[in-house]
Symmetry: C2
Subunit: 295 residues, 2 copies
């Protein structure tokens, strides 16, 4: 595994691979890697001749009151895990090289960036779209891999790629969960033991809602209430930032469920903000998420 820290060298390296007709799979991460990330890495390895994982804790996608400075970082552990997975390149640039003096360009995906997480984090998706555009230009992937846990992020990135004709495939991979259903997240490391236990309420609320939708309940508000009740029963859930039934293409709230919907929520457990979601189709009785590999 090669470790590259200079964007220009990464770009030239990718250029060389592309000239040889190789495909490049990119897994963009902020490090503190867990099994969720590694599932993306394995998918990228299986589908491409060259696998690149980027690690960059992007300051521009954190709000001023958010956890940028204390976001978990584990460069040695991450490098070891990635080396064990047999990836080709770890791209880990310095912030000073990614945002040189005078940096003033941003990429905005309007509409999709505004609801859900965008409500509480107004510049978050601008920061995400801009850094992902940069990573795409530097690494020049054939395919890029993102986890469905950040569902809104995957929509924003797919829209950006389509609108700007970036000419690559965005591959969305299933949420990877702990044994009790908690979605894996680098931020889970912030939780105390008690909070960690309480956090399982998030997945339970999604499961109850999913069962209700599959059983034929079609009022979005009824499904939302089921989720809220599960969350409300857990005293350590200190805030529900959003929690509802959404159209998975537009992220508009759905009142009359018909076909596939997105159950999604953001809550605080103590001071820690966690998100999760599930795709479910109404009244089909089939196992939940429809094929999560949306090309």
């Amino acid at each position: 595994m090669e470790i590259i820290r200079i964007p220009r060298i990464m770009q030239d390296t990718s250029g060389g691979h592309l000239l040889h007709g190789r495909t490049i799979g990119l897994v963009p991460t902020m490090g503190a890697l867990h099994e969720g990330h590694l599932s993306l890495v394995r998918m990228a390895k299986a589908e491409n001749s060259i696998t690149v994982v980027s690690i960059f804790v992007n300051p521009r996608q954190f709000g001023p009151a958010e956890d940028f400075s204390r976001y978990p970082r584990d460069p040695e552990g991450d490098a070891e895990k990635l080396s064990r997975e047999g990836i080709d390149i770890l791209f880990s640039p310095d912030a000073s090289l990614m945002y040189p003096a005078g940096f003033s360009t941003q990429v905005d995906v309007r509409g999709l960036s505004e609801g859900l997480c965008g409500m509480m984090r107004p510049d978050h998706f601008t920061g995400v779209a801009t850094i992902v555009a940069k990573l795409f230009h530097i690494v020049r992937p054939t395919r890029a891999y993102f986890g469905q846990k950040d569902f809104q992020q995957t929509l924003v990135i797919k829209r950006m790629v389509r609108d700007l004709d970036m000419g690559l495939d965005v591959v969305v991979c299933p949420v990877i969960r702990e044994v009790d259903g908690l979605a894996m997240s680098s931020r889970n490391a912030y939780l105390t033991q008690e909070e960690r236990k309480a956090a399982s309420a998030i997945h339970r609320s999604l499961l109850e809602a999913s069962a209700a939708v599959k059983s034929g309940i079609i009022q979005g508000s009824s499904v939302k209430k089921l989720m809220m009740d599960v969350l409300g029963a857990e005293p350590l859930v200190s805030e529900v930032q959003y929690c509802s039934v959404y159209d998975p293409r537009t992220l508009n709230e759905v009142e009359r469920i018909n076909g596939e919907v997105l159950l999604a929520l953001a809550v605080k457990i103590g001071n820690i903000r966690l998100i999760d979601n599930m795709l479910v189709s109404s009244g089909t009785g089939s196992a939940s998420p429809a094929n999560p590999l949306i090309p």
Copy 2:
């Protein structure tokens, strides 16, 4: 000369050339081609194995009260000129393919987009940066060619390319002028015979200011007054939107001239808005524009 109308086909065609190690030169235009455009085409041909000219009258860089619908169009004449120049590909997409339903992404270059033309045309450079980003992704040029006449545009694009690591060279080519000094522009076709004559005042004002700077005048306001006096003496100049001495890197107005400055202006002759500019170095006595090929 091949004519391509479908972005995806253009992208695949470029991909094939790049796989063969060829370089691609792109000249993005809005058509109604004149000698200014053709000078860019010749430069692109000289420096690259494949030359692509795009023609797309981009609705998103016109304001609601601007001249989008009556902007000059001459598809047959343009194709003939380009064929005579021996270019390889004319890329001329439909607006419906460039802006499909649900299009919602934009690229902004803050700061540089806000002064000069950006003051009177608040969304103009967002429209420009977004379409140029798209064209860069579709055509995948090694080098892209722009005229110095749109000086602010060249700064915005160079900043976008740097900030987003687009990995191509932006080549800026000298202003091409008519015999009386009027900068070539597709919009010159709008001018009546009288207005056309009056428009030569624009270049005269730049020449006077340039001579003053070279002779050692260092007050920006004095140089600005010289330009304003020349424009004021021409009754058909109905409005001066901006006209001053600027730092060519930041576009801030310069009061104490030291080194290279940009003389730039936008005026209306009757109802027609025209822009022009000139780079000049203080007190050197050397011929005006410094090397206009800024890599």
